[in-house]
């Protein structure tokens, strides 16, 4: 049994069918590759074939998945039949820095935990609050408020068998000046951390130093590469920086950017990390190609270091 199992963070846009039984007929209607990206049966088979037995879903998937399958349990069973388990769901803890939103932020977090339990998952990677633009800079008390919300959600999650992992984006109101302050203000028994390797590097953390410092808190990863580490405040604090106007990509498949992912794997070995490594392909024009390239890089470069 390997120490690391691999999952994909779900970045597929709406997949309209569960399973296409008339695939050839559907293809011939307009003879394009749309047929290959239109049903969960195919998507999950791609994952399974490429050695990704886990999927982390996103909350924005629910509005399509739940009506299509009838329930989270049905989706989980369908995925399991194809060799894929739902490991968890991403969550955005909107306005958790705002004391006036405490009840609402905790309620939304608990509901998300309930949903994850229904999917059979055990991780909730959680963005601690919204974008910096329009919200930051946060005061010390607002950071503490954020920590209180995380602890509260974390307590409920722990009681229900789910680990919440703080997940910081490079453009969040929690940002370089208060990133570690938030982590250290949360209860390590209840609140863990999901390292998004590219996001924290773009924000300005040194990936290897950060993992070394916080390895005991790490519940899981979003593994992706970047060629844009240490962006200045003017970029990180700008309005809506995640999707660029000119198509510049923040994120690349492992090995196509500049991060020292081999160094990370040496540290994973040193600290004997065991658990799920989620791969994320946001910004990719071709998720299937990204998945295959990633599998090659894992098998030939990273897994030989630590498996």
């Amino acid at each position: 049994m390997p120490n690391i199992r691999y999952a994909n963070m779900c970045h597929w846009k709406t997949i309209p069918y569960r399973q296409i039984d008339n695939f050839r007929e559907f293809y011939y209607e307009d003879k394009t590759n749309s047929a290959y990206y239109s049903d969960w049966d195919s998507i999950l088979k791609y994952q399974s074939a490429l050695g990704f037995p886990g999927i982390e879903i996103a909350p924005w998937d629910l509005a399509d998945i739940v009506p299509l399958f009838g329930s989270p349990e049905n989706f989980a069973a369908f995925a399991r039949e194809r060799g894929v388990e739902v490991i968890g769901m991403f969550h955005g803890a909107h306005a958790s820095h705002d004391a006036g939103h405490f009840d609402e932020a905790v309620r939304a977090g608990r509901e998300a935990v309930d949903t994850i339990v229904r999917f059979g998952g055990s991780y909730m990677n959680t963005c601690p609050t919204q974008n910096y633009f329009g919200t930051g800079p946060l005061g010390r008390e607002e950071v503490q408020q954020c920590a209180r919300v995380m602890n509260e959600i974390g307590r409920y999650a722990t009681d229900h068998g789910v680990k919440i992992g703080l997940h910081n984006e490079f453009f969040c109101a929690i940002n370089l000046p208060n990133h570690r302050e938030l982590i250290e203000s949360t209860d390590p028994r209840l609140v863990h951390y999901c390292i998004d390797t590219a996001q924290i590097s773009i924000m300005g953390e040194d990936l290897l130093t950060f993992y070394d410092d916080y390895h005991e808190r790490i519940s899981t990863f979003h593994l992706k590469d970047t060629a844009s580490a240490r962006q200045p405040d003017s970029v990180r604090y700008a309005q809506d920086p995640e999707i660029t106007d000119d198509g510049t990509r923040w994120f690349w498949e492992p090995g196509l950017g500049e991060l020292d992912l081999e160094g990370l794997y040496r540290l994973l070995k040193k600290h004997e990390f065991k658990g799920w490594m989620g791969i994320e392909y946001d910004g990719s024009p071709d998720l299937l190609a990204s998945m295959a390239l990633t599998r090659y890089h894992l098998d030939n470069v990273l897994r030989p270091i630590y498996d």
Partner: protein
């Protein structure tokens, strides 16, 4: 039918469904490259689907709501200036569908959010100088039923609240000089015989959309529809299909993608089974001079669709 000013709906860009290269659609550069290509295909008017979803989560590259337009261009006027630089003279209409807000069992949430964002769509349409806002009066029937299994018992109350919401919008539309138009969709709670009841409850200023593919799927002859609603057609959508709906397809949660048999319900205009030249002739006979918009929603290739539609219109126009 005014053949000189036929618009194209930007719903030909498949924003929501997965396929390679879809990510381009979320960046500003894609749309700014698109406008001159639309103009090169012979269209100088566009219709915009109003989609609140692009303003959530701090992303604003898709210019299909007021927030995104204001973020990237400062104002509707700034956006119009950019369109004109790309060869697009005007925005003829805006569409709005409330499916996004049917996501839980709270009808207060649905009507509150739908009313708010439909109002935003209307204000945006007015700012852009559009002729009409075409609104879907309900989410997909099956999507409502997912969260409200007792939908038939709630139908009267739902209809009453819908009529109140639309009447409020109609008053605002009149003030703004925009025509409010009801989309007539076969999957709607107000499809078929239920449409008449809703229309009766609305002010006379509320008009109807004649959508050719939707009529085809519902089995309604365009000539009959035109005769029945003479003088109340507010816009025409030239859409195409070869879809023959199975029993109950319209009641499923996502009827644009029929559960029982995968198919492209909406085909690129000119490639399906709707007699579009015949319908153009009918509109001429009826003396219709209002807005006409071509839509290639669900196309597999937006650029091929643009040229396919131009080829069709060349046929119709000659």
């Amino acid at each position: 039918m005014n053949r000189d000013d036929i618009a194209i709906s930007l719903d030909l860009i498949n924003r929501h469904y997965q396929e390679p290269n879809r990510n381009r659609y979320e960046s500003r550069y894609f749309w700014e490259e698109l406008y001159p290509l639309v103009a090169a295909a012979g269209f100088t008017s566009i219709e915009l689907p109003y989609e609140p979803v692009w303003q959530f989560g701090g992303r604003s590259g898709v210019p299909l709501n007021r927030y995104c337009v204001n973020t990237k261009y400062g104002s509707a006027a700034g956006y119009l200036e950019r369109l004109r630089a790309g060869g697009i003279a005007r925005v003829s209409g805006v569409t709005f569908d409330p499916n996004l807000f049917m996501r839980n069992d709270s009808l207060d949430f649905y009507f509150g959010a739908s009313g708010h964002f439909a109002g935003e769509a209307l204000g945006h349409a007015a700012d852009l100088g559009a002729d009409y806002v075409a609104i879907s009066p309900s989410p997909f029937y099956g999507r409502i039923a997912q969260y409200h299994p007792d939908l038939e018992a709630k139908r009267a109350g739902f209809a009453e609240r819908t009529a109140a919401l639309l009447s409020g919008l109609a008053a605002k539309a009149e003030e703004a000089g925009v025509t409010l138009v009801l989309r007539n969709e076969y999957w709607s709670l107000f499809g078929g015989s239920h449409l008449a009841g809703l229309l009766d409850a609305l002010p006379a200023s509320v008009m109807l959309d004649l959508d050719t593919a939707n009529l085809f799927v519902a089995g309604i002859a365009p000539a009959d529809f035109l005769a029945r609603h003479q003088g109340r057609i507010g816009c025409v959508h030239l859409t195409d299909t070869s879809f023959v709906a199975g029993e109950g397809t319209w009641k499923t949660p996502n009827p644009e993608f029929p559960e029982a048999r995968a198919t492209q319900v909406f085909r690129d205009p000119g490639t399906g089974s709707v007699d579009l030249p015949g319908i153009a002739a009918l509109l001429d006979e009826a003396g219709y001079r209002g807005p006409v918009t071509c839509s290639a929603r669900q196309t597999r290739d937006p650029f091929r669709a643009l040229l396919r539609i131009r080829a069709l219109l060349s046929q119709i126009q000659n």
